[in-house]
Symmetry: none
Subunit: 201 residues, 4 copies
DNA sequence: GATGAATGAGCCTTCATTCAT
DNA sequence: AATGAATGAAGGCTCATTCAT
């Protein structure tokens, strides 16, 4: 009499426990034993559901990325298709969503970022994510800027997002989402031609 | 009389081997055995000279930070004290120095960045470094911008530096130092008042 | 459902293996690897059940002390409450019980005796044991001797017990329990007043 | 230009350092490095002068035994050849000499006692010492007691000496030499025939 | 004589994983 | 489905010893 639907319960539970463990002691010391303890289950469960620690870590990262991706998509959906400034703000806002600023998530992010350089499976996930951010920005900017400048500005904004996030991750005061918006909006406004600016303000 | 002066030879040798190991397999898997193999010495030597793996890692990070710090200082020394734009460029240049872009160094950086969140000793080193970059920038910018804006722009440029560096670290093509200079110079020029700009171009 | 109740099997098994190892090569060289080999299990099992080598050693000592304590208590229980000479003999007998004279146990005892001076946890156990012997003797002797002499005689008998035991531990012929009884009984008879003696013989 | 007479300086210095190390952390943790640190010399010195750690330990034990042996011999030399009670007291006194009660010496003794069971070279030294004490006592006692009783009493006194010493070694208050003399003298007086007793008191 | 350098062996412990139940 | 039992591999570290100087 196997209970049905257990995977749908156990998997998120274990992914959450993984992030908690990483938050507490770092990826390096987040052992299977500790993760399972956080989840309140036996260590063997992890192999049962994920087939190994590596798969669990990959699933955890995938979960974080998905959350980010959805945060951005949602905000874009709620934005006027033509209001470029608002759309960029939506993208920035999605990247500084409250859930993304949780210590647990931030540390998990950073851990995977470092880890990704040595694990092809994580690397691919990371790359897709990086490119998606850039693509989103380029799509919007190309509608109001010459092609070349659009790419240039997109790269800058992507760098600002990651840079502010990274520096905030290390700061004792945490990541300041509002400051991020102010910095990036200011930057964007200085790049847009006067007529576009006037149109949306 | 015994051989003397070995520490001066062994310590840098071991630090270099540490970076090589991190470059190859990541901090997590960079074991004492592997590091000593890269250095061509016995594993016990690490404890002999550093007293433990942790101290070696700390020394390695310290070494990377020092190299960065010196790169910036050198470039600043070669720059006209009054030319703010040139001085900011020097700071940026120091952060994108050829030695800092070496794969070995980049991966070591990132590994420590992630690790720093869970090891107070590394955390402190990292914080000092972060603050130093910000301070350097603020000192220069305050001479040409109102106080509040100077802080704002300094934070932005610091974020751009770290963001471009971080995104480049993950990109297969590596970090593009020239692009960094162009993006940041462009940003700075859009922030400076017209009269200042004219003066230095 | 997993196998259960293993601790009750494994713990005594590991404690016994520890004594065997100490018997064979001494406490100093009794490594976790060797102990687990004697027990026919993997070295990791020791940490699984005891959480470390030190705890296993402490548990081993505790086991020996308990065995001794029970041996004395049993013999006292089987003795007439009023027959002081018989009760002292019971105490001596318990200390020279066959199980306490086994080479394995003797060497373990001696090893811990030496070790106790530098490990507080072992020291406490040892002290309790020492004091218990003395107390047992004093309780009995005070019923037939003036207070001061009772203490004096109790100390002497305790010393005789430990001294005979210690010297026997080192002798190739082992510990001679009968001789111990004769020596101590003779000593006691020479200390007791004539009327008491007559009463119990 | 080798300095001459160095062995005569270094060897006692190292033996003393060994006892200090044993006193501080126990035989088990008294490493060559620590001993040499106590002696203020390089670890290699030990191999130079003793050819290995084991030899140093053996020499240390030999030194302790010699000191004991001399203490007894000296006191016997100062005693009337015919006064049996005084001679036994001399033997006891030698075993509870002030130098033998030093914490450093006591812990060294006990450490070796335990160690002796597993190292033939130490075992032999220990045995010789044990037998010498017994022989000394028997020689004296046979002059005033029937052969069989003399052996019996000698064994008892030897056991008292070792027992009091052992129990005192573990007690926080240390070894009480005076109590030892009182206990043993009392015991002896109760064993001696009345005429002998009268003769020497 | 004396020492710093260097090492190989071994130790305790941790850990991801497998398995019988 | 779930788990306690068990393990082999590996990790960091300590240590006695050797050697060139």
């Amino acid at each position: 009499m196997p209970k049905v639907g257990m995977p749908a319960i156990r998997k998120p539970q274990l992914i959450d426990a993984t992030m908690e463990a990483i938050n507490e002691v770092g990826l390096q010391k987040a052992s299977v034993a500790m993760i399972s303890r956080y989840a309140g289950v036996s260590p063997a469960i992890i192999n049962h559901y994920f087939g190994g620690k590596n798969s669990l870590l990959e699933a955890t990262m995938r979960s974080v990325l998905q959350q980010l991706s959805e945060g951005v998509r949602q905000r874009l959906d709620e934005t006027d298709t033509d209001d470029v400034i608002a759309r960029v703000k939506a993208i920035v806002g999605g990247n500084f969503d409250q859930r993304q600023l949780d210590s647990k998530v931030v540390k998990t992010w950073l851990a995977f970022w470092s880890q990704a350089m040595h694990e092809p499976s994580l690397y691919r996930l990371q790359r897709v994510n990086e490119q998606r951010l850039l693509t989103h920005l380029k799509v919007e900017l190309k509608r109001v800027l010459p092609n070349e400048q659009a790419v240039f500005v997109a790269q800058s904004i992507a760098a600002l997002i990651d840079g502010i996030w990274l520096r905030g991750a290390l700061a004792p005061s945490g990541i300041d989402g509002d400051l991020a918006q102010r910095i990036i909006t200011d930057y964007l406004e200085r790049q847009l031609p006067a007529d576009i600016l006037k149109k949306y303000s």
